[in-house]
Amino acid sequence: MTVLEQTPGRDDSGARPTPTAAWRPRTDPAALLPDETPFRLLGTSARLDKERKELWRELYRRLVHGRRYNQQATALTKQGRLAVYPSSTGQEACEVAAALALSEQDWLFPSYRDTLAAVARGLDPVQALTLLRGDWHTGYDPRETRVAPLSTPLATQLPHAVGLAHAARLRGDDVVALAMVGDGGTSEGDFHEALNFAAVWKAPVVFLVQNNGFAISVPLAKQTAAPSIAHKAVGYGMPGRLVDGNDAPAVHQVLAEAVERARSGGGPTLVEALTYRVEAHTNADDATRYRSDDEVAPWREHDPVRVLERELRQRRLLTDAEAEEAAADAERMAARLRDRMNAEPLLDPRDLFAHVYAEPTTQLREQDAMLRAELAAEDEPGEPGAAGHDHQHDQQHEREHQHEHQHQDQERAA
């Protein structure tokens, strides 16, 4: 990377140095541009060595697992066991490949839609779903799991990933951060700032955009006029890669290459995975308002689980027995998850005050004491007046619940 201030060049005539001649492109843009067609492995004649074969089979088992996880989580919303669930059905290839592309010490920065990636990384699903269940904001220890809190404010997790990766590099640690964001999220200023910082700092980060065609109801064509989202990379001086997001081996390979590039000091990469949000935005959304079934149909065909299964069978890498075992395994996971989510979570109202500051302020201590007194009074049925108040309290809650049930089409999350 040459910089203008060091190399005054020569002008057209060759006669005398002028500064503008120094302003040549500082990196070769051609190397940064994505290929015209998304990278694919399925349906190609790619040769597989033993390791690759095992990887594809592993991807398959995890996709089956992931699909079942999505179904179970959606079912839990219907039973009122999750406040809301933004499903990644149809996007499992991206979720699973993202998790597998990372090493133990690397960090994942998921959005609200990416609990599956966290689970595929090894997180307890109940912990991963804590936010969406509504019992606490983050259900796991990010440092222990190297999974950042699920980010709801769009694209805000991207600068965090850059900062963390940069910090690790400054400390001499071998850590790559992989940050996930949607097509809609790329319109936010934080996307721009994060990519720019990453490129200037050569931070070991990989940005994975799951372009699933929609930001809630807004189709990509209203989101950007760019040739592709991957083309945004050149504006930051980093390579952009385009991949078929429903082709799990392809996504895995592109991400693994980008992670390796980051790990070896090559800097950040922007990966755009082309996929599709087969379900509504969340269980609370009504997708029929903005798209037709006709549009969804071909994507149900180009389903990440199906296309991988078909190919594995064609290549004789999957037996019926193995497929059944994968399904059975997923079923066991789902049953366990259902059971555990049916148990009422243990909640302590005093947690409200416990973690606002390292040490609660005087003000919070007073408020904590007030709440404790209230709770104690509620527990004492004999307390005069309390019953009356409790009654009011209950009425109020009942009314609120009615609201929620009457208006399930309201958007309650993410």
């Binding site: 009504d286 209230e374 009011q392």
Partner: protein, 363 residues
């Protein structure tokens, strides 16, 4: 202009002077939710004035995540009700430019916390544009923000952010608590030549009133509080989502022998000192109730200015019943955070009723 986009614009654009055909209204009174009333206010404003444009995320085909903009794109076209790219600073920033050109944009921020990316545009431009240009560039801009908790939303979907806007000179900050006000105050906001932060209490979206919108309710100018319940013992001062809670508390208080007056501020900026002070002078005791966190929250200003102006009429300090000074809690714990009937009654009980008898009754 031959592009697809501009062809669409041309289609929706007014052909000449005159009014867009008015949507048919149901004649006579009908039960209406607050969400419907806001939707109707938008429709009526758009029909009457073709400079009114609605912009936001998912406001088009979807009709907004709360369905508040339902049908507007179908009726007025994509150029009048526009699904924008997903970027709040961009939405408010472009709306500012539209207002500079003389349009009346109505911007929807999808949720309270998602208005924060637009904070710089709001504070550094929208709130100051008129002032910095000595009136040459008014900002007839309305920023609709669904706010507050109580709907079981996850993180970042339940903030009460009104204190930020109140502390920003140049903005009007208003929030309806009734269905009729939702209609009337939004019409006023859109008609105002100043920027208005229009805060919509999420958990009242489905509250119903019987309204006759064929005779749209007239509303007073901003800066008029409303007495929602008469009472002599003490005054509850509130707004938006906490009004129903206060009314309920006032009912419950009768059991304890208190007749509580309930005041709905309706507009936080400008502030109705007159009505508020008159009430407090009548009762001599006041409790401010809101969901927002207490420390440096809206109630601080309300309590401080009441005390400045009515000191010698106060039998007790103005008390505050508010959310705790914590980030908004997860859904399963929000009931402990939100001011409820119990906490209001507890506060009323702490209004030094004994001193009334020793120092000489309420005025």
């Amino acid at each position: 202009m031959t592009t697809a986009t501009s062809a669409a614009s041309a289609g929706a654009r007014r052909e000449g002077p005159g009014r867009t055909e008015r949507p048919r209204r149901p004649a006579g009174p009908a039960p209406t939710t607050m969400a419907q009333a806001i939707n109707r206010a938008l429709r009526d404003a758009m029909a009457e004035d073709d400079t009114v444009h609605v912009l936001g995320e998912d406001v088009g085909a979807l009709g907004g995540v709360f369905r508040v903009t339902d049908g507007l794109t179908a009726e007025f076209g994509e150029d009048r009700c526009t699904d924008t790219p997903l970027a709040e600073a961009g939405i408010l920033g472009t709306a500012t430019g539209m207002a500079m050109y003389g349009l009346r944009p109505v911007v929807e921020m999808q949720f309270d916390a998602f208005a924060y990316p637009a904070f710089e545009q709001l504070v550094s431009h929208v709130a100051r544009m008129r002032n910095r240009t000595r009136g040459a560039l008014p900002m007839p801009l309305t920023i609709r923000i669904p706010y507050g908790g109580g709907i079981g939303g996850v993180e970042h979907h339940s903030d009460s952010s009104e204190a930020y806007y109140m502390a920003t000179p140049g903005l009007h900050v208003v929030t309806p608590a009734t269905v009729a006000d939702a209609y009337g105050m939004l019409r006023r906001a859109i008609a105002s030549d100043d920027p208005v932060v229009f805060l919509e209490p999420k958990r009242l979206y489905w509250s119903k009133e019987t309204l006759d919108l064929s005779e749209p309710p007239r509303t007073e100018p901003f800066g008029r509080a409303a007495v929602r319940r008469a009472g002599t013992s003490a005054t509850l001062i509130t707004y938006g989502p906490s009004l129903p809670v206060c009314l309920e508390a006032a009912e419950a208080a009768r059991e304890e022998g208190w007749e509580l007056e309930v005041l709905d501020l309706r507009t936080l900026v400008p502030f109705d000192d007159e009505t508020v002070c008159a009430a407090v002078r009548r009762t001599g005791r006041a409790v401010v109730v809101h969901e927002a966190t207490g420390f440096a929250g809206p109630g601080a200003e309300i309590a401080a200015r009441i005390t400045e102006r009515c000191f010698h009429h106060l039998q007790a300090p103005v008390l505050r019943v508010t959310g705790f000074d914590i980030p908004y809690p997860p859904p399963m714990l929000e009931k402990h955070h939100l001011p409820g009937v119990d906490r209001i009654l507890d506060a009323v009980a702490r209004l030094q009723w004994e001193s009334q008898y020793t120092e000489g009754g309420t005025p």
